[in-house]
């Protein structure tokens, strides 16, 4: 019996189906908890799913590499989904035309705040150089962040992790801060969440309100562009 199970386990763990299913099931559990709690931002479904998957992988002694062989099919869809963000953006074209200047100024200021404050805080608290570089791009969507970080001498894989954690933090704490600041405009809320916490923030913004989702997607794209151009220039200026 045990022997049969071992053989089955060997077969399944070499098959993408197992880790693909694990990812989907973990996410459904995350969504179930999130919905049950009335979309409470603190119970972010991505965070719950990541926690569950890490727990299962650690318990079964599975490496991240072999997990990713299955999970890459989910990961792959990030590209097409990013392209599709053009659709909600187009639906808000009128609002974007009306406040183009405000959008640009707010995103550039937000982008500079994200990089400068993260680096300054970590530097004061004694962070190493690798951590500082990787923190500088924390609010930028993962593929761009990894590229910039590599260019500046950071660790791309650490960058990706910090980007994801930032996304979860912004998506879960951001709504409370925005309520506290009495920001009621969906455009301003979405723009702030997208600038600070890229796609994960956008994913939550879309669930809450369509205007917020579109502005969040726009902010994610423009922040990536602003950081990719400005951060390398600022970095060589200071260091």
């Amino acid at each position: 019996m045990t022997r049969d199970f071992d053989q089955l386990w060997v077969y399944l763990s070499a098959n993408p189906l197992l880790h693909l299913t694990l990812t989907l099931v973990a996410f459904h559990i995350g969504m179930f908890i999130y919905r049950r709690a009335g979309l409470n931002p603190l119970l972010n479904p991505v965070m719950i799913a990541v926690g569950l998957v890490v727990a299962v992988l650690t318990m079964t002694g599975t490496t991240y590499q072999s997990y990713f062989e299955g999970a890459q099919f989910v990961h792959f869809l990030l590209g097409p989904a990013t392209v599709a963000l053009a659709i909600p953006l187009y639906r808000q074209i009128e609002k974007i035309r009306q406040s183009g200047f405000a959008i640009l100024v707010s995103i550039i200021a937000g982008s500079a705040t994200a990089s400068a404050s993260a680096v300054a805080i970590a530097w004061v608290l004694g962070g190493t150089n690798e951590a500082l570089v990787s923190l500088a791009t924390k609010s930028v969507t993962a593929p761009v962040a990894m590229g910039i970080s590599e260019q500046l001498g950071g660790l791309p894989s650490l960058t990706a992790v910090l980007v994801i954690i930032t996304g979860i933090l912004g998506a879960s704490l951001g709504p409370y801060l925005l309520d506290l600041l009495r920001i009621k405009s969906w455009a301003a809320r979405g723009l702030a969440i997208g600038t600070a916490s890229h796609g994960i923030g956008t994913a939550r913004a879309i669930q809450v309100n369509e205007v917020a989702g579109a502005f969040s997607g726009l902010a994610m794209g423009l922040n990536a562009l602003a950081t990719a151009i400005l951060l390398p220039i600022a970095w060589y200026w200071f260091f």
């Binding site: 973990a26 996410f27 991505v46 990541v50 998957v53 890490v54 992988l57 991240y64 997990y67 990713f68 989910v74 869809l77 590209g79 989904a81 990013t82 392209v83 599709a84 053009a86 659709i87 187009y90 609002k95 406040s99 405000a102 100024v105 707010s106 200021a109 937000g110 705040t113 994200a114 993260a118 805080i121 970590a122 608290l125 951590a131 923190l135 969507t141 593929p143 761009v144 910039i148 990706a160 992790v161 994801i164 979860i168 709504p175 801060l177 925005l178 009621k184 405009s185 455009a187 301003a188 809320r189 723009l191 702030a192 600038t195 600070a196 916490s197 994960i200 939550r204 205007v211 990719a228």
Partner: protein, 124 residues
């Protein structure tokens, strides 16, 4: 349905080609998003089926971050040794970024846009 999925893939592929040909530090999918947006501007409306394909992809955006997020297990040690600087920087800087961006946007937005907002405004 399949035609529009193909269109989205083509936008990304052209985006990737532009990114690697020009050496721009922008990822292919973001260029693809700009391409699709320009296409919609030229077309003047969103084809119904494209809206359907787009919704299917976007409404499940969250799950797509799970595989990359699990990568945290690779860096538990490094983050552990620098737990204080990294976690304080992440939390404070993320909140500061949200506060700066939202306040500026609310302050600079033209009045007309603000009144439009109120009609569908609310909490959350």
């Amino acid at each position: 349905m399949l035609a529009y999925l193909t269109l989205i893939f083509c936008c990304q592929l052209i985006g990737e080609l532009i990114a690697s040909a020009t050496g721009l530090p922008i990822p292919g999918p973001v260029i693809g998003m700009a391409l699709l947006f320009c296409g919609l501007l030229l077309h003047g409306k969103i084809p119904e089926e494209l809206g359907g394909v787009g919704n299917a992809l976007i409404s499940n955006l969250s799950i797509l971050f799970v595989p990359a997020g699990v990568g945290v297990m690779l860096h538990v040690k490094l983050i552990g040794t620098e737990l204080v600087p990294i976690s304080v920087a992440l939390v404070v800087s993320t909140l500061l970024t949200i506060a700066v961006t939202a306040s500026l946007m609310a302050w600079l937005s033209p009045q007309k846009a603000k009144t439009d907002e109120k009609s569908d405004g609310g909490r959350k």
